[in-house]
């Protein structure tokens, strides 16, 4: 039975901050950058108002913000940070270290296009650039999902079988600065749900000890790890990502019991008899849902698969969702310049390649630099997919939706 909840008017950034306040981690180290700024402002206000007791570290750069979190997390603290775009780019070096040292840091990414040319608006070029760094990535469609993921992320990251950092991704401005209704749980329910951080035991050079820095039983984190060991430690991370595919739905199921809101790795929508379907991430999926409903009213068998968890990539769920669909359009909100397609497109192609019968798959790059992707553009994507389905072939799979040629 779900708990009594309070409806609040919050934008995406406020949802991150409010959930994080309720979680009350030990350390917050962050540097403000548009459109993440509201998170940093709120989290420091909570400190000034005495509503939380986390250590707020006002760092001088994003590189320091994440480095601070690495140190705090290694010492056993719950560490939180948030950034966007070029801020994440400046953190890039440390993203690999946080994951490699298996530190369950939670970071909100308020997705913004990566300059240059300078642009403060939304696309996914920042988090896509960090997709190989060993962080779990959850992409949110609306502020409710942002609030919920900002709570569940801690349990996923800290699970003994996972121990990986998590990025909770929300679209800049579209979510970060747009007021929405968000159902919130009581503080106590959140703190009971996240509980205390637990530690696994490892055998270090002073014997068995918890995996954290402790002067009584010293442990060395981050040593030089050369040809003879580095590869084995990467196998550990590969396994952790596999485990995360099991752990994330378990944590979501437990959260559904208290919140009444269920989440999955993938969310198929009206896919039962779909002939054309769109796959994508983030806030655009709300617009696609709206368009799918309209098309269904007109008799078009349209469907949607929203990918909520992009890392680890939910391959087997994706195969189940798409294998029988004649034509699939992959919506990418980022580029991999010089590559055969956008990142989500390429990974979808790789996942479905081995199937004996597979959909025709085209790539629709959209929304770069915050370019608005309204229902008319999504309708155009479905029209293009219907044409592909009828013809039975794809010419050039690359389409740049809403760009002036």
């Amino acid at each position: 039975m779900s708990e009594k909840q309070t409806l609040m008017g919050m934008n995406g950034d406020e949802s991150v901050a409010y959930a994080t306040k309720q979680v009350n981690p030990d350390v917050v180290a962050a540097y403000p950058i548009t459109p993440q700024t509201i998170i940093v402002e709120k989290l420091s206000e909570y400190v000034a108002d005495g509503e939380v007791d986390y250590e707020y570290v006002a760092v001088e750069s994003e590189h320091s913000a994440l480095s601070n979190c690495v140190g705090a997390s290694a010492a056993g603290a719950r560490a939180f940070t948030a950034t966007a775009a070029n801020g994440l780019a400046l953190m890039w070096e440390i993203t690999f270290i946080a994951s490699g040292l298996r530190l369950p840091i939670v970071m909100a990414i308020v997705n913004r296009s990566l300059g240059g040319p300078i642009n403060i608006h939304n696309d996914h070029s920042d988090s896509m650039g960090a997709r190989d760094s060993g962080w779990i990535q959850i992409h949110c469609e609306n502020s409710q999902e942002v609030y919920d993921a900002s709570i569940t992320a801690w349990r996923m990251a800290e699970h003994p079988d996972v121990l990986l950092p998590i990025m909770v991704c929300l679209d800049g401005f579209t979510l970060s600065h747009t007021m929405e209704n968000v159902l919130t749980l009581p503080d106590k329910v959140v703190s009971d749900f996240v509980g205390e951080r637990e530690f696994i035991t490892v055998k270090g050079h002073m014997g068995e000890t918890e995996l954290r820095l402790n002067p009584d039983v010293p442990l060395t984190f981050g040593p030089v790890d050369l040809q003879d060991y580095y590869f084995e430690h990467k196998l550990h991370q590969i396994d952790a990502m596999k485990q995360a595919l099991k752990v994330i739905p378990e944590v979501d199921a437990e959260y559904a019991k208290i919140s009444g809101r269920s989440y999955d790795l993938l969310h198929p929508y009206r896919m039962e008899d779909a002939e054309v379907a769109v796959l994508g991430l983030g806030s655009t999926m709300g617009t696609v849902k709206y368009t799918v409903d309209q098309l269904r009213d007109e008799g078009v068998k349209a469907g949607l698969v929203k990918m909520r968890v992009f890392r680890p990539f939910p391959s087997s769920d994706l195969v189940d969702a798409l294998k029988d669909i004649p034509a699939v359009g992959v919506l990418d909100k980022s580029l991999s310049l010089g590559a055969p397609g956008g990142p989500l497109f390429e990974e979808t192609m790789a996942t479905l390649y081995h199937l004996p019968k597979k959909p025709l798959i085209a790539n629709y790059i959209h929304g770069l630099g915050g370019r608005d992707t309204g229902p008319q553009l999504i309708r155009g994507v479905f029209e293009s997919l219907l044409e592909i389905k009828d013809k039975g072939e794809i010419g050039d799979p690359m389409n740049y939706v809403g760009a002036r040629p």
């Binding site: 040292l101 055998k203 270090g204 050079h205 995996l211 060991y229 550990h236």
Partner: protein, 92 residues
Amino acid sequence: MSTRKPSSKELPIGAVVTKSSMEYETGDWGVMKPQTDLEKCTQCTLCHYFCPEGAITMNDDGYPEVINKYCKGCGICAEECPVKCIEMVRTK
């Protein structure tokens, strides 16, 4: 001598170090070793502080002693000694 290296499953996660650096004997790395002329030594202890490996201790009489098990033979002690009482000698 070859020793079997641990499998991925045997290693602790997080790449934490499983052996103490005390067991990591770096003394066979170099070809030179410091040799100290205690007649000239003023017991200033600079060699002890400059040694990057912590391989020079000061004994009860206040004179430096090189721990050859860890000394890499870098020669920093000889370079820094103000009375030039340390000489690097080829041992291999």
